[in-house]
Symmetry: C2
Subunit: 435 residues, 2 copies
């Protein structure tokens, strides 16, 4: 019996009440039944699990912090869930190389604390930092709030250790900044379909403790793009986030916070600069050139925290309204105003709540209520504008049917060929990415 075989090599969970936490995602929209859950404590245990599952022909679903939004990390029907959370070891920070090795189950905020104690930081930061794990962040190439400065997760990974479908272990944790002995296996954004990431060698950046934060109240997305162009010249710029009045109202209702500005505005942009020395003057100089009806500058850390809450509490505030349909799209920057103008019409009788990352024109579209699903119409519009149907959340099961909107037949065939080469039996995360 499978549970017996697996329990000889790793920790196995069969208690339905414990398994339940692994069977439902963060949004509550994706849930399925796992055959059982394993919690390996090492890459070698992951390898044993995969060898047994391969021999038994049982598909597996890798799972990290279970903060995914596209159904890429929960079982559908009888898979073995491989939870990586126990692989949470953090190696020593190499200050000379500015690197650290982290187990796949390392929670982002633990990594941040560890790196910051050594005067360094991880270049990626995102709202679910207290539950998202490094392995999941690599597997989904997580983006977040500092992409304009440090890139997405893949730009911050030097190498990974991963277990392939046949149980073989690939390890590239030596941290060599230059190593051209063949191409990299493309684990970033592979969403568990090519292998199970067990650890990663990560690039670190200087820990910048001096921050300057401002919220701009603007009349339009066009005004926001003009402001962004000026602000991007600020070398210390790290974040440029946006939200709209509808989302702000939800956040205020959910958090009880007062209005951030004296007047209501059509478009809000939250910017933050970070540097070794106080970047306030640099930010003030740039803001003086920006034509904003209202600008609020954070006076102290608690003020900064409050301004960020208006942006970061969006996901929680939306969740409190019920299960929203979630899209995560990106368009070319100049197309952002046109896209934002189109959404309300495309959304039909659903209420759209939009927020996101301005510099990448990455829009989180949340659709509340509505009698029909406007996803197809909205995603088709994104494709028509030259955008992507998944900017940072990944494809998962939720977006697999839409992949053809923005990736060509030849591209999908090539991705499928790579998938089949590394996982010929299709045991790794079936149904994810590929329709």
């Amino acid at each position: 019996m499978l549970a017996d075989l697996l329990s000889k090599v790793t920790q196995v969970v069969v208690d339905p009440s414990v398994m339940a936490g692994y069977e439902t995602d963060f949004t509550g929209r994706w849930r399925g039944r796992a055959r059982l859950v394993v919690r390996p404590g090492s890459a070698a245990e992951v390898a044993e699990v995969l060898r047994i599952c391969a021999a038994e022909g049982v598909p597996v679903v890798p799972q990290g912090g279970n903060t995914g939004l596209v159904g890429g990390g929960v079982p559908m029907d009888g898979e073995v869930v491989v939870s990586l959370r126990r692989l949470s070891a953090l190696g020593p920070v190499d200050k000379a190389a500015r690197q650290v090795t982290a187990g796949a189950g390392t929670v982002l905020s633990d990594l941040q604390r560890h790196a910051r104690a050594a005067g360094l930081d991880f270049g990626v930061d995102l709202t679910p930092r207290d539950s998202a794990t490094i392995g999941g962040m690599i597997a989904t190439n997580a983006g977040g709030e500092r992409v304009l400065r440090h890139g997405t997760t893949k730009a911050n990974v030097v190498g990974v250790e991963a277990v392939l479908a046949d149980g073989s272990v690939i390890s590239r944790l030596d941290g060599l900044p230059k190593d051209n002995t063949g191409f990299d296996l493309p684990f970033a954004a592979s969403e568990g379909t090519l292998g199970i990431i067990t650890a990663a060698r990560l690039r670190l950046v200087p820990y910048l403790t001096r921050r300057a934060t401002a919220l701009l109240g603007l009349p339009s997305p066009e005004a926001a793009l003009a402001a962004l162009e000026r602000l991007r010249a600020v070398g210390s710029l790290e974040s440029a986030e946006f939200f709209l009045p509808e989302g702000l109202a939800l956040v205020r209702r959910h958090t009880g916070l007062p209005a951030p500005t004296r007047q209501e505005h059509a478009f809000y942009v939250l910017v933050e600069c970070a540097a070794a020395e106080d970047p306030s003057e640099e930010l003030h100089e740039a803001l003086a050139d920006v034509d904003a009806p209202e600008t609020v500058v954070a006076a102290d850390p608690s003020d900064r925290h409050r301004l960020w809450t208006y942006r970061e509490a969006h996901a929680e505030a939306i969740r409190a309204e019920g299960a929203a349909r979630k899209l995560d799209v990106g368009v070319p920057l100049p197309a952002l105003p046109a896209f934002l103008a189109d959404v309300p019409r495309l959304a039909g009788d659903a209420v759209p709540v939009l927020f996101g990352h301005l510099a990448e024109a990455n829009v989180h579209v949340n659709l509340l209520g509505g009698t029909t699903d406007p996803s197809t119409a909205i995603l088709a519009r994104v494709a028509g504008l030259g955008g992507t149907i998944s900017a940072e959340h990944g494809v998962g099961r939720a977006k697999a049917a839409y992949l053809t909107l923005t990736r060509s037949t030849a591209e999908i065939a090539a991705l499928r060929a790579v998938k089949a080469a590394l996982d010929p039996a299709g045991l790794l995360n079936p149904g994810v990415i590929f329709p």
Copy 2:
């Protein structure tokens, strides 16, 4: 006949005297016979060429600027050479997104001029900038002199257009900074084995015109590592290169330049800072903390040029001595002194000339003369120190037999599986990377 078929779809070279330039590499050590050379003018022509070659079962060798050093871009025996040099179109610089689209045949210095005219720059720079092409730089994941600041070529690529072995075209030139609709096909460092890159969307960085350059004369590699640790705290640091007295003597003989320092030193480090505002003071402050017996600071641009020549003329000066055996290795930074100390003994009766990129402990080992080939012994030592047998030049044909020294059987099997998935008939650059 193949030439007839190909000449219907693209430019074909059959004149042996013209073909000769495509059949021998920069070092003169790799030469072979091409069946013929094609010079396509578009991705569509490359696709036609590959469809015809696939139908005829004729292997192809993609070639860019032919500046490779590992025999990865020259024919061996009867392949069709696909020269990408005509694909040299440069798109407009997108200043807001800091991106540009370049044809695979764009020469690096042309890209630099184009970007700099818009106030931006490409993050990768290397000595053969007047002949190396962007497609080749991506296919070999070229490194060079600014990796400590901007990473290797793959970190500066947003997406590529490439033609697969079956003639299908994959295009990811839309420039979206976040796009997680499936993993990327791993064209970087694939050395023409997975597809032929025809264009790329490139990330640009601010063009930094204020530079401060210094040459440090140091007593040992250990002293150089101590200096590097201090200098890395300088935010504007862009390059940290090294060379040794033997190489300096060759360069002086070849160029006629005077000695750069009053006394001879055991180890030379060339550092350069670059910023929007003069970084001299920042560099001076750091140099004051460095225990260097002699430091020469460039007083003006011609002085700067002269200091760089001591480093950059190494390849030419070595070539003037005859065909050297060339290794391009990297070791973990702390292992650099041990490796450098071992090379003379391992080199036997060959004369080693060593130089390279200090921050990545990337050593270019050039072996002049000698009755036996010490490559295996040196590369085995690199592997024993946890290093790489190819830091930035790639594997090509020259290093294929050594791949097993630093990549495991499982890794090589996985790379082979991906190769076979995308090029099942093995038509793309046979003999390259894989032994």
